[in-house]
Amino acid sequence: MTDLFRLTDVEKSYTRGKEKISIFDKLTMRIEEGDFVAIMGPSGSGKTTLLNLLGGTDKANKGEIEFDGKRIDNLSEGQLTAWRAANVGFIFQFYNLMPILTAAQNVELPLLLTKLSPKKRRDNVATALKIVGLEDRAKHRPREMSGGQQQRIAIARAIVSDPKLLLCDEPTGDLDRTTADEILGTLQVLNRDLGKTIIMVTHDAQAAKYAKRTLHLDKGHFVESELAA
């Protein structure tokens, strides 16, 4: 397997008033293509900051971040935006669907960043909705769907442009156990059958079991790693 991500000596800190708060100090890690990684850790351990760095929504102060063999840490804001659109699908804890758009319109959003024709966009949306099993809900608005269905729509939105990488920020944090298991099962299918690399931040040990391996973060360092059962 080739490395999809390679982080070398990454440093990240914030300044609050006169105080400098260090999140990562020389963090080094690798994530292989096709991996499904759960990242766990207490609040403030740097989970979301790591996800921001991996997703190109934040920049490191120092160090190198390579994606698919190319550095992304030195890209400009605009280049990072384009990179995200082409390579990353995001799945949020609270789904983050646009309430006034239908399911299909929500799923179509990332495709508006491409040069695809409207017809091709419609076809891709239909395919994505079929993968998550909600093709019959295409014209429904988020408020007309359950939490689990909304998260499936969010997953369809994340995969519709066929990115290599899915970044999930507490994807089951707002769902009951049964629904959470369904969503995690869907993520497993995307990883196993479609080869998507998935990095999932979670507090839920049960959820982490769906990943191939779990990384534990504490105060900006990985303290242990384990393979899923």
């Binding site: 929504t57 983050n96 646009m98 309430p99 006034i100 508006l112 960043l113 939105r157 920020d169």
Partner: protein
């Protein structure tokens, strides 16, 4: 480029379609813009109506003779001898072997305004036998012209609309004399519709102004004949101290009064626009704040800051446009075409109509757009600068 247009279209549609979620704030912003536009239009239409009425009153081929330095007819004097000399000037048209000229006397009389039930000045004009012929746009629509040498008057239709007690057939008492109203005339869009007309000789007699004239109107062969007529008069020592200009030029000069209304329109309009602007900015900042998770989500997905900026701008412009259209509708319903009156240059009431012409309406739309543009610009920048971070998307 196509992608950016797609992004802008999508974000704009999101913003505009979510306006109902911020209904009250949006309505307040729309109403503020609407009131601003309505007030601006009120004064601009007032100024436009006044200008059109005054400027539209004169003819190019009628020479107007007044005393030099007189700003208005009331403080002008032309003697009977001068009248006689001027009647024989070059280019003066004849009718039935008589010069087509009219010596006129304007006096002020009281009338009761219908709208306020208070007294106001009305212009009472004594005109010569050819006075009606010199005013080509004037038609007697009811009754007949007054008979020379009689206590009869004809009344402008505009004056009847504004003042009580001057209906056709009525007898009115003015300065101790009874006058019979024998006719009503119309002269659309001119100052004449605000006047009472009577025989100049009777007017001189009953107002105790014997042989006094203030102005003279002379029908010339063509507009080009005004200059030679003036040159001729300037060369005659008996006509020194008189100013000769075309009737249209005279009224154009009088129209400068309407500039005051234009100044008031813009001062008030701009002051109110600042208020409306504050409302628009507030609404748009609120819009950006309530959509911060949406904006962050779109930015994370890969939408550019430009899309967020333009989306906010278009929302602001849409709200302002709605306010502008509402303001224009209010103006059309409330006062377009309505008759009003103001104190004219002769200290008399001048009746005219509010005139919402297309250029004025376009001015109002531009004003609304300016409010929208400025109101959306800074919130748009805030939206564009919002960082695409997961913490913001989770709020």
């Amino acid at each position: 480029m196509a992608s950016l247009l797609n992004q802008i279209g999508a974000v704009t549609a999101l913003n505009v379609r979510s306006i109902p979620q911020r209904a009250w704030m949006s309505i307040a912003s729309i109403v503020a813009v609407a009131l601003t536009i309505a007030v601006l239009l009120f004064f601009l239409a007032l100024a436009q109506g006044l200008t059109r009425t005054v400027e539209g009153s004169g003819s190019d081929d009628v020479a107007m003779v007044i005393r030099s330095g007189s700003n208005a007819e009331l403080n002008s004097v032309v003697s009977r001898d001068q009248l006689t000399i001027l009647s024989s000037g070059p280019g003066v048209m004849q009718r039935a072997s008589r010069p087509l000229a009219s010596g006129e006397l304007l006096v002020i009389v009281d009338g009761l305004k219908r709208s306020t039930n208070t007294k106001a000045n009305m212009p009472f004009r004594g005109i010569g036998a050819e006075g009606l012929a010199l005013r080509r746009g004037v038609t007697i629509t009811q009754g007949r012209m007054f008979s020379p040498g009689s206590n009869e008057i004809v009344v402008g239709a505009g004056l009847i609309r504004e003042f009580a007690g001057f209906g056709f057939g009525e007898t009115v008492r003015i300065r101790g004399s009874d006058w019979k109203i024998v006719g009503v005339f119309e002269a659309p869009g001119t100052v004449f519709e605000s006047e009472l007309w009577a025989d100049v000789a009777v007017t001189q007699s009953l107002f105790n102004r014997p042989n006094a004239y203030q102005t003279m109107r002379v029908q010339l062969a063509s507009p080009e004949a005004v200059a030679p007529f003036k040159t001729w008069a300037d060369a005659d020592p008996r006509l020194q101290g008189l100013e000769i200009l075309s009737e249209r030029a005279y009224y154009a000069r009088q129209a400068s009064q309407s500039n005051q209304f234009i100044v008031i329109a813009w001062v008030l309009g701009i002051l109110m626009a600042i208020g409306a602007l504050a409302g628009a900015v507030n609404t748009m900042y609120s819009s950006v704040a309530t959509r911060s998770a949406e904006i962050a989500t779109l930015r994370i997905i890969g939408f550019s800051g430009w899309a967020a900026f333009f989306g906010t701008m278009v929302e602001a412009l849409a709200l302002s446009m709605m306010g502008g259209i509402l303001g224009i509708l209010i103006a059309f319903v409330a006062f377009n075409g309505r008759t009003t009156s103001t104190l004219g240059s002769g200290f008399t009431q001048l009746v005219f109509k509010f005139d919402l012409s297309p250029p004025i309406v376009i001015t109002a739309i531009v004003m609304a757009m300016v409010i929208g543009f400025v109101g959306g610009f800074f919130p748009g920048i805030r939206a564009a600068r919002q960082r695409p971070q997961l913490e913001l998307a989770a709020q």
